[in-house]
């Protein structure tokens, strides 16, 4: 294992994060606060409790998930896309690093960044709503698994993308809608039966549901199903990443 190499990538990526620390932290905190004000306080006060939890508290796990998903994809995607774009990727490709080590560096940094932001949002939410986390270890586990698997997805997108538009396309057109329709801001039991069934095909539902269970002990789908869904998703992403490096897809000419 080339640990110095992994650490070098990791540090370089974290430096990018801290260089723009204001942007990296202020913007997610600000947008989350807006959600709390609009959904939690303004609209939420007119919505009855869901499964014994006030609406303001109910949306906290969904909000954290939304941000962690977006940040993981964005950070990892940009992290590998940018060197490709400016040409510094040659150094990574010529270094004595295995594909696993490269992924560990980029995906590790992206996951840590989004975990940090997730924790900051959780801390912010304490200012707005009264909330206790029932299973903190499970919460961390779900957050970590989600951060890692979506950072893997971001990494794949970053390698696949040929321009910045493509880089933003999938998060915008696929991921964000899935998050909004995945029960982040409501329980799918509130939906008509047809939509409930359809929602079960949305992978994000399993993430949000499992994550919310770790907070309140209630879930839309069984926790085991949530865990299985995250693991399967992470497995698929890993398989794609492995294939990318085997074939040199969009990395080597």
């Amino acid at each position: 294992m080339n640990w110095y190499g992994v650490a070098a990538i990791w540090r370089f990526e974290m430096a990018r994060f801290f260089r723009s620390i204001i942007q990296s932290i202020v913007s997610p905190v600000l947008s989350t606060s807006l959600y709390f004000v609009v959904f939690g306080a303004a609209i939420g006060s007119r919505i009855p409790e869901i499964e014994g939890v006030s609406y303001g508290a109910f949306i906290v796990p969904g909000l954290i998930m939304l941000t962690v998903l977006q940040q993981s994809i964005q950070n990892a995607g940009f992290g590998i896309y940018f060197p490709k774009f400016i040409g510094t990727i040659f150094e990574i490709l010529s270094a004595p690093l295995s594909s696993f080590e490269i992924v560990l560096g980029y995906v590790g940094a992206a996951a840590v960044k989004s975990l940090l932001i997730g924790m900051i949002i959780l801390a912010t939410s304490f200012f707005f709503v009264d909330i206790t986390v029932k299973h903190p270890l499970w919460m961390m586990a779900f957050l970590l698994l989600t951060a890692v698997s979506f950072a893997l997805l971001g990494f794949i997108l970053g390698i696949w993308a040929r321009n910045f538009e493509q880089l933003n396309l999938v998060p915008l057109l696929v991921v964000t809608p899935l998050v909004f329709l995945g029960g982040s801001f409501y329980s799918i039991t509130m939906l008509p039966p047809f939509w409930q069934t359809l929602s079960k095909f949305n992978p994000v539902l399993y993430l949000v549901s499992g994550f919310r269970w770790s907070f309140f002990g209630t879930a839309d789908v069984p926790v085991a199903a949530s865990l299985a869904a995250v693991l399967i998703f992470a497995g698929i992403c890993l398989a794609i990443v492995t294939w990318i490096f085997r074939s040199g897809y969009r990395l080597k000419s």
Binding site: Y4, G5, A8, F12, G87, S94, P96, K252, S253
Partner: protein
């Protein structure tokens, strides 16, 4: 001397179907400076990129320090440093951090003193805390060299290191190359400044259209291919070389004021003594004599044109 890099029957066809390297073989000796010359698009960068693992070979084998670059890539790559032709650097990062990054990437533990020394050697020390975007073009090229040297490579590839570099800096770079060679580092450089190759290389390789035309010791090559000329300035101008001198390869120059005699520098007998004696017997009075030798540049142009014909 043993070979540190061996390239055997290497071919590279790019995805578009263009064949940039055709069954190329090359041996690079431990500790030498090899200059690769060739016109634009000859395949120099492709050859280097393939050795360094950036481009996948279509066929053939490459070994660096006895390690196959495909099957034993980790050991092979640790030995290699690469200064690419294009200036590719992360613009927002600090100079010193990008150099440290390179060292780490190649699996070396941090060594602040060593990094400082490299920056000193490349006259970058006073800029170490500047952002890359704040550096001049020549400085950026030096940063690329610093990055390539950061992990103490044994084989250094310099792909046109002196393009766009001022004269003074170019001399500094040659000195650096000399010092590295003294430390036992093998250096492969490509350049379009032939006098650069002439000044620092031990061996010259000429590549054209994906094929290596020759690899030869510089001095031997210049002897073998080089022509020497003797210029004889005359007291009084003449219309044509006298018939009595027709056995010599003579031409008229300076409006009949001088004769040019070309001879083979590698030949056993130059014929100069005989020529001079014959001139006397023809009654031609000499004012001055001057010899010159064709440069590597002339040889290179001849070679590339010859093979194009």
């Amino acid at each position: 001397m043993s070979d540190i890099v061996t390239v055997e029957n290497l071919s590279k066809t790019y995805d578009g179907g263009f064949q940039a390297l055709k069954n190329t073989s090359l041996s690079i000796r431990q500790g030498e400076i090899l200059a690769l010359l060739g016109p634009n698009g000859a395949g120099k960068t492709t050859l280097i990129s393939t050795i360094c693992g950036i481009t996948a070979p279509t066929a053939g084998h490459i070994q660096v320090g006895g390690h196959d670059v495909v099957t034993d890539w980790r050991a092979a790559r640790k030995l290699i440093g690469l200064v690419p032709q294009e200036i590719n650097l992360e613009p927002f990062e600090l100079l010193i951090n990008t150099v440290r990054f390179s060292r780490g990437l190649f699996g070396q533990p941090p060594n602040a003193a060593f990094i400082e020394k490299i920056l000193e050697d490349l006259s970058l020390a006073d800029k170490k805390n500047a952002r890359i975007a704040e550096l001049s073009g020549g400085m950026k090229r030096r940063v690329l060299i610093a990055k390539a040297l950061a992990h103490e490579p044994r084989v250094l590839f310099l792909d046109e290191p002196t393009a766009g570099v001022d004269v003074e800096l170019r001399r500094d770079m040659w000195q650096l190359v000399e010092r590295l060679r003294a430390d036992g580092v093998t250096i492969i450089l490509t350049t379009h400044y032939i006098e650069e190759a002439e000044a620092i290389a031990d061996r010259i390789g000429v590549i054209r259209k994906g094929e290596i035309l020759l690899v030869e010791e510089k001095t031997k090559l210049m002897q073998r291919m080089g022509k020497k000329t003797l210029k004889i300035e005359l007291r009084a101008p003449i219309d044509a070389p006298p018939d009595a001198l027709s056995e010599f390869d003579l031409s008229l120059a300076d409006g009949g004021q001088a004769l040019i005699y070309s001879y083979d520098a590698a030949g056993e007998r130059t014929g100069i003594t005989r020529l001079l004696a014959s001139l006397q017997s023809c009654g031609l009075a000499m004012a001055d004599l001057q010899t010159s030798q064709s440069s590597l540049e002339d040889i290179f142009v001849d070679l590339v044109q010859e093979s194009a014909a």
